[in-house]
Symmetry: C2
Subunit: 542 residues, 2 copies
């Protein structure tokens, strides 16, 4: 070993030892990657056993063997001694295993023990969607440790499956060129999503890293709203002209060797790229080679307008059971296609969003976002609720005189409010779903109102009787029983009325009924419940 070499090793050794001491694994990884395997071996030999193991975890999988060859046998064996190495990958990759509930624990244990190689290998072997799910279940620092272990291509595939906030954060953790490399491998529609989630500056950088043709396609796709057909479409469709023969189409496809994913049909266009219909692969393979495309295509199959909303696109895919459809502009010019895999994502996301929005949460937020960030986000919802709670308190405050004289009223009043809230939310949920399915509208709202009032009346009678009986037993007062019964009946009728009218009204105002409906409803049933119960008591008991 020459003087210069030895010096170089010592500089690098120091750099690596320092990075290890500071826990900068990514830096260690980079340093090691830039070195010849022989040098890596020398560095490993020079480190103390603990540091050696830590440094080894950052050696690239591809150079692993070469590095081992430069080490003496004992040390090589010691570094490789991790009999469970493959178990983790197998464990995590196996869906049906009974112990599957502790996957997250196993990953976290391995990270804790510094077995980054093992974790990295496991994440490389599992499906990107699953890897994304597991990543989101890790706290941010552990998430970053895993993320560092993944190569650009794999990282790109996983990014596609993450929720927006986590996606943006992990993408920003990558170097500019790593991110660009990851992005190269993505489908255009996924790339569009990624760019939209990044801060504007980083998005622009990423766009600049693409070649001209791709960049232009991306720019045109970025011009459509995210939740429209234009934002969903991909431009990897195949198109043929109606006057070619089936045999030629087959020869053309054979030349391509690999068709774009989810190709179940080829689009048929005219000379000006205007959409004419579709030629299904299933029809293509059953047609005689000498037939013309125009004869065997389906000219009835409608294309999707580029401005159609994504929910409507999803609804159409579901109703018509389609796998892919063409997207056209106002002049029927073919722009791209939407495939059913993206539609499935939309259906799932829409339902997730509805559920999260009902609790005032953002469905794309990171479960492990910093406490302060999460607290601030949720505070808004609590603040809105506080206003409604004070409204109810104000109503109670009107009857302080009554409450002072009959304290039993204070004990019973939450029951009236709560029964109204529950009954109202049943009507509300029914109507919100009906609105989403297009099954509730002016044409049958009156009818539904009659039915809901009927149900409210019957349940009002039933539970008014039950509560009255219990109240009489408890407070030995017939009057209180009668008054709570009347209040409950009244509140359940109001609940039915508001459960129907509030969402209809919100919809008319352009507000998502699932978002605001239940807060407003609870306010109404609380106010009416307290007002009716305490008001009646003031009238009849004092």
């Amino acid at each position: 070993m020459s003087e210069a070499d030895s010096h170089a090793i010592h500089t690098e050794l120091d750099a690596i030892a320092e990075a290890l001491a500071k826990g900068k694994r990514k830096r260690v990884r980079k340093l090691l990657r830039a070195m010849h395997p022989g040098k890596v071996a020398s560095v490993l030999e020079a480190l103390d056993p603990e540091q050696r193991q830590a440094a080894w975890q950052q050696v690239d999988d591809n150079t692993e063997e070469q590095v081992l060859r430069h080490l003496d046998g004992l040390m090589a064996a010691a570094l490789q001694r991790d009999p469970q190495d493959d178990d983790l990958a197998d464990d995590l990759d196996e869906d049906d295993e009974p112990g599957a509930t502790t996957q997250i624990a196993r990953v976290r244990d391995a990270l804790e023990a510094g077995k980054f190689k093992r974790v990295g290998k496991a994440f490389k072997q599992m499906h990107p969607a699953k890897a994304a799910g597991l990543l989101e279940a890790l706290p941010p620092d552990e998430r970053s440790s895993v993320w560092d272990m993944l190569d650009a291509e794999r990282a790109g595939k996983i990014l596609v499956h993450l929720h927006e906030e986590v996606r943006a954060r992990l993408a920003l953790e990558m170097d500019e060129d790593e991110l660009a490399a990851a992005a190269q491998k993505l489908d255009l529609d996924d790339l569009v999503d990624l760019i939209q989630d990044l801060p504007a500056g980083n998005g622009r950088q990423l766009l600049q890293a693409m070649d001209v043709r791709k960049r232009q396609q991306l720019l045109s796709m970025l011009s459509y709203p995210e939740d429209s057909a234009g934002g969903l479409m991909n431009t990897d469709h195949l198109s043929v002209r109606a006057d070619v023969r089936v045999g030629s189409v087959l020869r053309y496809l054979r030349l391509l060797e690999d068709l774009p994913d989810h190709t179940d049909k080829v689009m048929v266009v005219d000379r000006k790229n205007r959409y004419q219909g579709v030629l299904r692969l299933s029809r293509l393979v059953t047609s005689p080679p000498e037939a013309q495309v125009g004869e065997v295509m389906d000219g009835e199959f409608k294309a999707i307008d580029v401005s159609l909303s994504s929910s409507e696109v999803a609804r159409r895919f579901e109703d018509l059971d389609i796998l892919s459809a063409a997207v056209v502009d106002d002049n029927d010019v073919l722009l791209g296609r939407i495939t059913v895999d993206d539609v499935m994502d939309i259906i799932r996301e829409d339902s997730e969003r509805a559920m999260m929005n009902m609790a005032g949460l953002n469905d794309e937020a990171d479960m492990f976002a910093p406490v302060l960030t999460s607290a601030r986000r949720r505070a808004v919802w609590l603040g809105i609720n506080l206003v409604t709670a004070f409204l109810a308190a104000w109503v109670i405050g009107l009857f302080q005189g009554t409450l002072e004289q009959i304290v039993a009223l204070a004990v019973l009043m939450p029951i009236v409010a709560s029964m109204g809230g529950i009954a109202g939310s049943q009507t509300l949920t029914l109507v919100i779903r009906g609105l989403a399915l297009g099954q509730v509208e002016g044409g049958n709202a009156r009818l539904l109102l009659g039915k809901e009032l009927g149900i409210g009346f019957l349940n009002g009678l039933l539970w008014a009787a039950v509560v009255a009986a219990l109240a009489i037993l408890w407070f030995k007062s017939w009057q209180i029983g009668a008054i709570i019964a009347a209040a409950i009946l009244l509140n359940l009728l109001c609940a039915a009325l508001s459960g129907l009218l509030i969402p209809l009204l919100l919809r008319k105002l352009g507000i998502d009924p699932a978002l605001a409906g239940s807060v407003i409803l609870t306010t109404v049933t609380d106010v009416i419940g307290f007002l009716a119960f305490l008001g009646l008591a003031t009238l009849f008991l004092l």
Copy 2:
């Protein structure tokens, strides 16, 4: 006209007039259908104008022209005079129309005006999924009127898209042989669904009406649970052997002319029908005809076990972006296939169910079920809530002495309970989603708990301060302010704890957290809220 003929006409005329008077349109329809068009014309002539119009609405579309030919011109013209006849069909079939919100109203108006022909025509022209949606939005009697106008084939297609309760009811409204005719046209998986929704006796009858081969297939499919891969699969898959050549497969497909819907791949099996892999159509069309199936098939593509739950099937389709997959038994024998269209339905249904269940509703129930039926169903949920409400009331009852002395506590106490409920439901929703995605489990629950407690603490501090300030302004009492602040902070911490622990515990007990979680959580936050607030007040203010 002979005496006998005239007599026959009069008997039939009486029968029809009587049925019309009683509003038995279905009977009129049947009587008319059994008659020669000439006779139908004579009957129409003999009726008074109003009855004539009503009877005309029940004349079968296919014999319409022949009947008109037997009528005198003026009468024929009068019967046909309904210039908007085609408008309804067009209106209802057009999705993107701005006036689309009044579709239900238009159908109901047409039914009201007795224009059954017009409505029937419109329902025949629109897509079955849409027809099903519209039918569900009609009250039961109008639904039946429309249903009577549909032929068996169309009725069958619509049945597939209905929710269970409505489906069963409408199927039972059909004659036995009508239903059997409708069933003949259905895919096997849809037929299995239908049979499962019918009362056992009717299901058996329907099974008996099928030919032997179909019946056997149905019986084997019925033996799997409805929400398993076996319950989802269809048996219309194509399979080939690995040792055939691509050219032979293409010839074989060409002989079939029409491939089953959603065929994107052909299953590859061995001599004993054991699953080997898949041959994608997109690969098939790009492979040289002389290649062997075994060389171009995908042997890595996993089949689905027949006992896998439908949610897991959906998850796999989503994660792996697949369009169809083979279903196999324990010995890898190919049983059928699942296609993405059914998976989309599952995703939608799962999310609908979760939302409805959270309000204690059944997602498959008829929106227009009889009031008594609906009231009984919902009563259960109200009863459960009543128990929890009384629990909260009992806690308040413990502090009657305190409340008598400081009535302000009664005014403010709902605020404490409500803030806890809202904060808790945010944590609960987050955890329920996390459980559904497999992102919350023992491995990171402790970490999440720390985070949620942190958020609860921060928001507790913030809103405790706000509420305390307002309470002090309102009731001019520093003590009350301090006590409500402490109670809110405490309740928000408890809310975070319960929001995380309740769903984890329910899951462990095998109870769906979405179903019971929010009732239990509200009970906890109510009880803790009242207990903390009134308890602290009793300790420090009395």
